[in-house]
Amino acid sequence: MLRFLANRVLVAIPTLILISIIVFSLQQLLPGDPALIIGGGEASPEVIAAIREEYGFNDPLVIQYFHWIGDIFRGDFGVSYRTRQPIGPMILDKIPVTVTLGAAAMLFSLVIGIPLGILAALGKGKGWDHVVTVFAMSGISIPNFWLGIMLILLFAVKLRWLPAGGFVPFTEDPIGCLRSIAMPAVVLGTALAAAMMRHTRSAMLNILQQDYVRTARSKGLAERVVIVRHAFLNALVPIITLATLQFGTLLAGAVLTEQVFSIPGLGKMVVDSVFNREYQAVQAVTLLSGVAFVAMNLLADILYFWANPKLRANR
């Protein structure tokens, strides 16, 4: 187990270094002189020169890279040139928001996707199956932002049941929190629910044909027990894998969803920072997302190792 872990971590390190280099270089490729942008277009040449000096834009790229990565290892993500607030705490503020939204979206997708998938599998080729399949295809095809705007128009503007945007932390006001993330979670979770449903359906179809299901049925077990205990629990393994791997999709979806619902999470931070040319903030969030993604994959590997007896036997 330890060797396996060490192996995985060792493989992750070059990936992380590569990510940091890519993140850093992407920023350099963006058009425009950052000092001019920070200066706001009305600064005098002296001010521009001072900004270049302050932010180290005059140093060679390699030096700039090592400065940047060195600061990050010391936990210093820089200071927003716009608001003068440190970026590290800003990110810390935003992580719980995106995590709450992501968890709610995941919950929504599980609650909708799994039962529908089971229903579709049980009624394969019949009416239900078609309805669910149409739902799944629409769920995957509808763009996030469009669905978001439609929901806002209906539930916030027309019916005034839910707020059109914003975020209330769960610790402050649980009901307010639920109201504020209901629509965003549905928007973010819809595509995921559709994917979940399709996976559940195919996993269930596969397992329902297995010998042990037939055996269970021939033992005279109630159909409900056969489906839940024998079929579904086994189908759950690929579903869990899918759920873990959807982390990246959630993060990417959060970028648009948070923008539409003006939710102050990491996704909105990335978009706003790009528009405001907050280079350091964009770098920091992109890098952290990359690290989180690698960490999630590592976690998935470990879970898989733990869950799959064959892997353990072969080590």
Partner: protein
């Protein structure tokens, strides 16, 4: 039983939550199109930063909607006969939001900070100040090296917002923008970057009775349609920067009031006069101008909600020269001018266009119109930041539509663009005559005479045409019709004094 009780409690909680949202009428929420930068009048660079500071803080003076000066923290002011000393008498019942007394020493310290702090964005605006004195507890004397016609307009803008010297001492000048303390009706309470800024009413402020709301929450919503949806759903009370193409639709909604506020700004096409080629000739530039139908551009691109214009100031301004009216579109006249200039037809022309939907729309119309007059106009649509770099390097033929966003004095929109030393003179327009006129606008303290000089500036700019002015953008606010009493400063910022919400 327990279940029934639980569900009843939950229902009650939901209702309470609903009612408390409706009952908390004492918060006013304002949707902003951008996240402000540092909330410090000395280092601030953004329009939206002034919107927030304008609600929190009182300045020495302000402007009314006709750009007349209105006393606020300075009760009165007068110039010495030689125009070299401005004496201001301050209100005596004002304290900063941290309790520090607002007096002449604090104003002196504030002005000196704006002049001397290394990263001050205001120093150039007030470079004519030679010294500031505080001869009495509530009397400030500002000495200038030469008469300064635009100084008061700067005091009516960010320079006139004074921060508590105690707070600056404690927080440090570099960080005061993250925890601002000024003299004004609403004190800084909380800021969540890229999300919201909350300010809280100062109960013992001298005119606290004039402010009805306990808190004001600024919500940052860069997307136009998101801002509008939040207004329509009642989640925000006021939004700024309504997209002009949405005005017609929003005006149909009886619950929303749309208010376009005229602002002294302009959007223009700037030519690179240092580049060899046909556009080095003023005739060619004037021909291009003649090929345009500015009213049609306003109608098509902005639904007629902007103001077409041909001068640095809008046609409804007193500084607009009536003797230089906006030319009608004249394709034949444009062709005649091109012939007179002796250039090869069609005249090749490339416009560098910042990649913003409305700007591109305008540029496409200019392209189509000018082609009929003998120009082979191409558009080079580029990211805004890149256009800054390219124009700085002189790597363009013409750039636009582009221009200053707001001003409370024509100096702020004219000098930097048209004077040979102006920081925004990217046309590289060097004219001794223009320089002399612009310098005169700065030292001429007689208002009527100064208006005359600005008329001459407009006439000369139209003849030399280093810039083709296209249109002026009002600041379009939309708000819940229950909000009453909103007024605006002369440069288009919100004033919340005496604003109430009808029940």
């Amino acid at each position: 039983m327990t279940n029934a009780l639980l569900s009843r409690t939950a229902l009650a909680a939901i209702f309470l939550a609903g009612f408390s949202a409706a009952g908390s009428a004492q918060d006013l929420s304002i949707a902003l199109a951008d996240d402000p930068d540092a909330l410090d009048p000395v280092t601030n660079r953004t329009h939206v930063g002034i919107t927030v500071m304008g609600v929190m803080c009182d300045g020495l003076l302000t402007t009314d909607e006709d750009l007349n000066f209105v006393p606020v923290l300075a009760e009165s002011w007068s110039w010495s006969d030689d125009g070299l000393a401005l004496t201001m008498n301050l209100r005596q019942d004002v304290t900063f939001q941290d309790g520090t007394p607002f007096n002449a020493d604090a104003v002196k310290a504030g002005l000196e900070r704006a002049l001397n702090q290394p990263d001050s964005q205001r120093a150039a605006d007030i470079s004519s100040i030679s010294s500031v004195e505080a001869p009495g507890e509530y009397e400030v004397v500002v000495n200038v090296s030469e008469p300064s016609a635009q100084l008061l307009s700067k005091f009516a803008e960010r320079v006139g917002i004074i921060f508590s010297p105690t707070a600056i001492e404690e927080t440090g000048a570099a960080d005061i923008g993250a925890a601002p303390v000024c003299a004004g009706p609403y004190a800084f309470d909380e800021r969540v970057a890229q999300d919201r800024i909350v300010v809280k009413k100062v109960e013992d402020y001298w005119n606290a009775d004039a402010y009805a709301f306990d808190t004001v929450t600024f919500r940052v919503m860069p997307d136009d349609s998101v801002r509008l949806a939040n207004l329509q759903s009642g989640d925000v009370d006021i939004m700024e920067k309504l997209d002009p193409s949405n005005v017609d639709v929003v005006e149909q909604d009886p619950n929303i009031t749309v208010e376009p506020v005229a602002v002294m700004n302009n959007q223009a096409l700037m030519y690179n006069l240092e580049q060899d080629g046909p556009f080095a000739s003023a005739d060619v530039r004037n021909a291009f101008e003649l090929s345009l139908d500015r009213n049609a551009i306003n109608q098509v691109a902005f639904g007629g909600r902007y103001l077409a214009g041909n001068q640095v100031t809008p046609p409804n301004s007193q500084y607009y020269d009536p003797a230089t009216p906006m030319p009608e579109r004249d394709v034949e006249g444009a062709k005649a001018l091109l012939e007179q200039a002796g250039v090869e037809m069609p005249v090749e022309f490339e416009i560098l266009v910042p990649n913003r939907p409305l700007s591109v729309r305008v540029a496409q119309m200019m392209q189509a119109m000018s082609q009929e007059a003998g120009f082979a106009t191409e558009l080079n649509v580029v990211d805004f930041a890149t256009t800054l770099q390219m124009t700085e390097d002189g790597n363009f033929t013409a750039w636009g539509p582009i221009g200053p966003q707001f001003a409370n004095d024509p100096d702020a929109v004219a000098f930097q663009v048209l004077h040979s030393t102006g920081s925004r003179n990217l046309s590289r327009y060097y004219s001794d005559e223009m320089d002399a006129l612009l310098e005169e606008t700065r030292t001429q303290t007689d208002p009527a005479e100064r208006v005359e000089v600005f008329h001459k500036v407009a006439a000369l700019a139209a003849a030399d045409e280093p810039v083709t002015y296209l249109y002026h953008m009002p600041q379009i606010y939309a708000y819940d019709s229950a909000i009453e009493g909103l007024t605006y400063t002369g440069d288009g910022f919100l004033r919340l004094v005496d604003v109430t919400r009808a029940e």
